[in-house]
């Protein structure tokens, strides 16, 4: 592995997650995948180990705002289980809008509990008819005096039902199009706010994916995030910042599959010797390792650029997510191939990794949308020259 010059604190983060991963994730990941049970025990272990506030400033109870540390942790968690990884990461996605656009009161009210891992957060943007085309959003927020009345349904919301704090984008003025959306903080338990069924997914099965259902849900204007009409900006700035985290999740899943492949290739004997002695296997492993390292280097470089205070990082954030998730899909598929028939069986961990990897090419902006973003950024950059 490349030497990324990790600090003592960063090495401690990895050491802690390794301990939790070996003792609390590895023994149960197969069962969690089968039952789809939410990994509360593991989330509590993260909370007790102080790992929930890695992207949150110290004055709000965290360990200092660091996209890099958050990516490092998400990668290591995902190395053990992609479903636990996304559960861990989705709380950051749900609370980043508050960090970026919240008032001091809102930050003080919500962030310390999230940093301490007492509460999880979730982000509600996607709808049945508004996926890649977020402009097709149909959830509305109508102003009535000091309140907004929310109506509509958000779909496929990670941590839905389990989280306490939700940031939700709704249309306050449909006629204004993308400038008519507004972001709100909605607490679990607010009258008129309910959850739909838990989705039965291909991968990341222990993560909770549910609908957020709003029926005349009355939200006080103090719960508005940023300004009215700023909802899309809130969503886009949030996704720019959290996208490297999905890249990190993908790197983790891929690294996990590579670890398992090397271990298996050393144990599996065919033609009288371990298959790792065969050049065909070695070349596959070499390609896998090289791709994983390249993806990691891109994710880390992007995260460090954001932490260094870069203003515009849409391009590298999209590149990191795109590249790492495509790598995760290829590497996990190759891992199943190295395991052969055993790889196709649920008794071995790599088929789950392959199923877990697929979602990273789809959510937080499909890889096709990432390519659009990258293309657009290239045109903009070339126009400036």
């Amino acid at each position: 592995m490349l030497d990324y010059g990790l600090s003592d604190e960063q090495k401690m983060i990895l050491e802690l997650i390794k301990k939790i991963g070996e003792e609390k994730i590895k023994p149960v990941r197969e069962k969690l995948d089968e039952t789809g049970e939410f990994p509360w025990e593991i989330m509590k272990a993260f909370a007790a180990a102080d790992l929930c506030g890695l992207y949150i400033p110290e004055e709000l109870g965290g360990f200092g705002q660091s996209v890099f540390n958050f990516c490092l942790a998400t990668e290591e968690v995902s190395r053990y289980c992609g479903g636990v990884g996304v559960t861990f990461a989705a709380s950051a996605l749900g609370s980043t809008p508050i960090l970026l656009f919240g008032s001091d009161e809102q930050k003080k009210k919500y962030m310390p509990d999230i940093a301490a891992g007492k509460k999880l957060a979730a982000f509600g943007l996607t709808e049945a008819n508004a996926g890649s085309d977020a402009g097709g959003m149909e959830t509305t927020a109508k102003k009535e005096g000091d309140y907004y009345i929310l109506n509509g349904t958000k779909q496929w919301i990670t941590n839905g039902g389990e989280a306490d704090t939700y940031t939700v984008i709704a249309m306050t003025n449909k006629s204004k199009g993308s400038r008519g959306a507004t972001a709100f903080i909605v607490e679990k338990g607010t009258p008129g706010f309910d959850f739909g069924k838990k989705e039965n997914k291909m991968g990341i099965r222990c993560s909770a994916t549910r609908e957020l259902v709003f029926q005349d849900c009355k939200i006080h204007k103090d719960q508005l995030l940023g300004k009215e009409g700023q909802g899309f900006i809130v969503a886009m700035k949030t996704l720019d910042m959290t996208r490297p985290g999905i890249g990190a999740q993908a790197v983790g899943i891929a690294q996990g599959a590579l670890d398992e492949s090397i271990k298996y290739a050393k144990e599996r004997v065919q033609f009288g010797k371990p298959i790792i002695t065969l050049q065909a296997i070695q070349h596959m492993l070499a390609d896998m390792a090289t791709q994983v390292e390249a993806a990691r280097a891109l994710v880390y470089a992007c995260a460090r650029m954001i932490d260094a205070g870069a203003k515009n990082y849409t391009l590298p954030a999209s590149e990191a997510k795109l590249f790492a998730s495509d790598v995760a899909m290829r590497v996990t598929t190759d891992a199943v191939q190295i395991f052969g028939g055993y790889g196709y069986m649920k008794e071995y961990p790599v088929e789950k990794m392959m199923r877990d990897a697929k979602i990273t090419q789809i959510y937080e902006g499909t890889n096709q949308i990432q390519r659009n973003q990258i293309g657009l950024a290239l045109i903009k950059e070339s126009a400036r020259k």
């Binding site: 003592d8 983060i13 802690l16 301990k19 003792e23 007790a48 180990a49």
Partner: protein
């Protein structure tokens, strides 16, 4: 309530190797950990602190590198740690070790409870905890699986072979705990960072007012004559067949070996 926990740094293996010439443990090349039962003792102390307030201090007797074990328990949330270290402690048996730890505890004062693991996984004697109680003339309750403190009284459930026994003891007292008492917590990031920065306080023989004749090899009445790995127990023999045949075979075997 203020609690002192005595811990030991041990080799991270159950397959302890013995140097046949010196009859001591081979420590070279084996990573060290906190004795697992002592982690249970730390956890028990931290739980009591959460309920009743106060302070948890961990002490260990050992060479300078034993400070690492103290840092491990600092990361778990222990308030204070002390390394008791002196060249004159070398070669201590359980008598000298319990004397040295008891002297340290006397010197520290201010304690309501002393907790130890039931035994260390290297020497397996289970003598140091009770030894400390004797040196300090305190009541001792061994093999604790449950501890409840109510004012100046501790109600302790002991895990025995056949039954569990519940006893009450006035405090201060010395308790030793079994692994079934709890699941030791993981370290936290804040704890690890605190531990990294922490300077481990060291006390030597003079600092604990120790009587030199009780210390180290000279103060140790135990003479280890020989340490060896006993041959593994034979596998035994299982007789099969109808009950009548088995009984006949069994009686034959007993007679053959002149057992009766």
């Amino acid at each position: 309530m203020d609690i002192i926990v005595c811990i030991k740094q041990v080799p991270d293996t159950t397959e302890v190797k013995i140097n046949p010439e010196t009859n001591t443990l081979v420590r070279e090349g084996v990573p060290s950990i906190v004795n697992p039962f002592d982690e249970n003792a730390i956890e028990a102390a931290l739980k009591l602190k959460e309920l009743h307030g106060g302070k948890v201090t961990a002490i260990t007797m050992g060479p300078p590198q034993a400070a690492e074990a103290l840092k491990t328990v600092l990361a778990m949330g222990v308030d204070d740690v002390i390394l008791v270290s002196d060249r004159s402690f070398a070669g201590s048996d359980t008598w000298a070790t319990s004397y040295t730890l008891a002297q340290t505890i006397k010197k520290l004062g201010n304690y309501d409870l002393i907790i130890c693991g039931k035994q260390a996984i290297d020497g397996d004697t289970a003598q140091v905890g009770p030894g400390i109680a004797e040196w300090l003339k305190l009541p001792q309750v061994t093999f604790a699986v449950k501890i409840e403190v109510n004012g100046k009284i501790a109600k302790v459930e002991r895990l025995l072979e056949e039954v569990n026994e519940v006893v009450e003891t006035p405090l201060p007292a010395v308790l030793t705990v079994v692994k079934q008492i709890n699941e030791p917590r993981m370290p936290s990031l804040r704890g690890m960072m605190k531990a990294k920065k922490a300077e481990v306080k060291t006390m030597n023989a003079a600092a604990i007012d120790a009587d030199p004749k009780n210390l180290g090899l000279n103060g140790s009445p135990t003479q280890v004559v020989k340490i060896f790995t006993p041959p593994p127990k034979g596998g035994g023999e299982i007789l099969t067949g109808e009950p009548n045949e088995i009984i006949t075979k069994l009686i034959e075997k007993i007679q053959e070996r002149k057992i009766i």
